[in-house]
Amino acid sequence: MTVAPYVLAVWLLLVGLYGVVTSRNLIHLTICLTVCQSASYVFLLAVGYRTGGTAPIFKGIPLGKRAVDPVVQALTLTDVVVSVTVLGLLLALALKAHERNGTLDPQDLSEVHG
């Protein structure tokens, strides 16, 4: 069981990619992409976890007590912000695509090719 969280991260990545590849709706595709990105949160937090450790917040806890890694949490925070911005931009793009072409299905949009 000691690799379960890592397996979960890989699972989320692949499931999200599957969603992207099979998607027939740009908004659906965007949400699937955020599932992929959430895999990286799980992975980052998992590698920094220490069994029995507390959160790295030393308020009312003696310094030196076993705590989990604070760096991966900071990285994950940045990662979350990135995913919001990408979602916002992709959604705006999807809305404009719908405005121009009246469809959200990527297969009906084929302005760019070859």
């Binding site: 790295p56 310094l63 890694d69 900071a74 916002g88 705006a92 809305l95």
Partner: protein, 239 residues
């Protein structure tokens, strides 16, 4: 490609990727046995050196504060991008909405200030307890969106006049950069702390972490408000 061909390409790829990742994961220490040294060192030194009991905040706003600067710029660029995309030249004119009932208005009027204050509280105590500029900033922006839900877009826009929010967003990001450059000019490293440290666990304890935390909070809150305003304007704009 047909759907079948695409799935075949993806299936082979996904299987291979899973195997490759599995091989990589096999080299990781077991779950719960993070070996350090980076995080362990910070857990040891951050509180005595930075007087911030929340080590994550110390990492976000000091040790790795430069990442946060990049992150603020990403947010800034994304809001610009959304504004660029959704600009339509047409003013939003709302369909007259059935007047929200008194009850809804009353609930909104009570809920908004509470949520807003909770957001500010989350920002303020970020260096001490969980929370900080990013989380609090999003909460502040969300509390203002409640006004749209409870009343209407006009009220939301009146509450968040775009020039002011623009100025706050630009100003906060500029302040972040300015603090970095300021410490550089003063002969210190970029983003180095220049304020005295206070007793651990109090609000003024961690010096410049507070300033950067507030700059980030204001930046995030105004960026999200702008994002929501752009989207809602687009929603209400005529075709």
């Amino acid at each position: 490609m047909t759907q079948r061909a695409r799935l075949a390409v993806f299936g082979v790829g996904a299987l291979g990727l899973a195997l490759v990742l599995a091989w990589g994961i096999a080299g990781l220490p077991d779950f719960g046995h993070y070996p350090g040294p980076y995080g362990m060192l910070l857990n040891r030194v951050a509180v005595p050196e930075r007087h911030a009991s929340n080590v994550v905040a110390a990492v976000v706003f000091d040790y790795r504060g430069f990442d946060t600067l990049g992150e603020e710029l990403i947010l800034f660029a994304a809001v610009l991008g959304v504004a660029l995309l959704l600009r339509s030249g047409k003013e939003a004119h709302e369909e007259p909405r059935p007047m929200a009932s008194e009850a809804v208005r009353a609930v909104t009027a009570r809920l908004v200030p509470v949520a807003f204050l909770f957001g500010l509280y989350t920002i303020a105590f970020g260096p001490v307890t969980p929370g900080g500029g990013f989380q609090g900033g999003v909460l502040v922006a969300l509390s203002l969106v409640l006004v749209y839900l409870g009343v209407d877009l006009a009220a939301f826009r009146k509450l968040t006049p775009t020039p002011v929010v623009d100025l706050l967003e630009g100003g906060a990001a500029a302040a972040f950069v300015g603090m970095g450059l300021g410490s550089l000019v003063a002969g210190m490293a970029f983003l180095q702390n220049f304020l005295p440290l206070d007793k651990i666990g109090t609000l003024s304890s961690p010096g410049s972490i507070n300033l950067l935390n507030w700059a980030a909070g204001i930046e995030v809150a105004s960026a999200f408000v702008l994002l929501f305003v752009e989207l809602l304007n687009y929603l209400e704009a005529p075709e």
